[in-house]
């Protein structure tokens, strides 16, 4: 047996594989291709099914948004948003935060109040400490959309320890919350940003209002050479607000 195998291997090495080897190798390769194709089909079907299930669950809670816009009583809104099946909590959060992104005024406040009552804020605060990077990123984004001031310390810590992508998510969330106490940490995190991202950072800082404009001035003074030239006029226009007559 070992001798036979040695003969086959020797034949392959010198470029003269035996017919038996070729047949076996071909069959093995065909099985491999079939197995990969089957895996892809199952993989795609699983993810398609998951997407469709998620869409159905999202659609089940859409009437709650209608209740908010129609200014229906708050208890009815909360009842409509309360997750009904295991796993629906994430769908409801996605629906609520996506709509909060586009709304302001009373509908925004209703959704925010319901989010607190349904425990979404606590869920996302816990998720800031998740081992899963994607969960941490989603949590940061949602806490920003929820304007959650309790999240500021956690987001500031994220600025110090996360990678560049999540740093930017944390900065956006802090800008959405608008607590000026976060500005020093954002300013410190700017040291790690490449020049191309500085205008974006400056735009986020401007969302803090007057304290943000001070921070942008300081940033532009410190890293004047790093700011792309095309971005400077628009930024200076924003900063000039402080010198316009009241």
């Amino acid at each position: 047996m070992i001798g036979r195998v040695s003969e086959v291997v020797a034949g392959v090495i010198v470029g003269r594989p035996s017919l038996g080897f070729v047949i076996v190798a071909t069959i093995a390769l065909l099985w491999l291709v079939l197995a990969m194709a089957a895996y892809l089909v199952v993989f795609r079907a699983y993810h398609r099914g998951r997407r469709e299930y998620r869409s159905r669950r999202l659609a089940a809670y859409q009437p709650a948004i209608e209740l908010v816009l129609m200014e229906e009583p708050y208890p009815a809104v909360v009842a409509a948003l309360t997750p009904r099946l295991a796993g629906d909590g994430d769908c409801v959060q996605e629906l609520v935060t996506e709509n909060m992104r586009h709304l302001s005024g009373p509908p925004f406040e209703t959704l925010r109040r319901a989010s607190v009552e349904l425990g979404f804020v606590d869920d996302n605060l816990r998720a800031l400490r998740s081992w899963d990077r994607h969960r941490r990123g989603h949590a940061m984004e949602r806490l920003g959309l929820l304007r959650c001031e309790e999240a500021v310390p956690g987001l500031v810590r994220a600025l110090a320890r996360e990678d560049l992508d999540l740093k930017l998510v944390a900065m956006r969330a802090l800008a959405a919350i608008g607590d000026p106490s976060a500005l020093p940490a954002i300013h410190a995190a700017a040291a790690a940003l490449p020049p191309g991202l500085l205008p974006r950072l400056a735009s986020l800082m401007l969302e803090f209002g007057a304290p943000g404009r001070d921070a942008v001035r300081e940033l532009m003074n410190r890293r004047a050479a790093d700011f792309p030239q095309v971005s400077i006029p628009a930024l200076l226009k924003e900063l000039a607000q402080d010198w316009e007559s009241p």
Binding site: I65, L69, M70, R101, H102, L103, S104, G105, P107, A234
Partner: protein
């Protein structure tokens, strides 16, 4: 009996489409929603809306170019531009194109109502 008012919305974001549909449905206004402004002129000339809601940024043709096309085609329907862009230069560009009113997102339904009410009054 006065005819039901009609609004034509050009907005590509699905969540905002749903929000606007609910908003106008509550007010008894017939609403048609389109995701881009490429075919805006024939659509408007066919549908005869009482009001047009236009997003600033859309795939293909942006909102300001669409407004310019509509005004060039002789459409005088009031157009309210609903957008996240709040820079004065963008506002000026929109107004030069012929936009009637300009509202920034995220939108407060109360402010939106105040903006559209004059054009949908019976």
């Amino acid at each position: 009996m006065s005819a039901r008012k009609k609004v034509l919305v050009f907005e590509d974001n699905a969540s905002i489409q749903t929000l606007l549909k609910f908003f106008f449905q509550k007010r008894g206004v017939e609403t048609r929603i389109e995701g881009d402004g490429t075919e805006a002129v024939p659509l408007v000339l066919d549908y005869h809306p009482d009001l047009i809601l236009m997003d600033y940024i859309m795939p293909g043709k942006d909102g300001v170019e669409t407004v310019m096309d509509l005004r060039r085609a002789g459409v005088s329907t009031p157009i309210v531009m609903l957008t996240s862009k709040a820079f004065p230069a963008d506002r000026a560009r929109a107004q030069q194109a012929g936009v009637t009113a300009y509202l920034t997102k995220p939108f407060d339904p109360t402010q939106l109502e105040a903006a559209v009410k004059p054009y949908l009054a019976a």
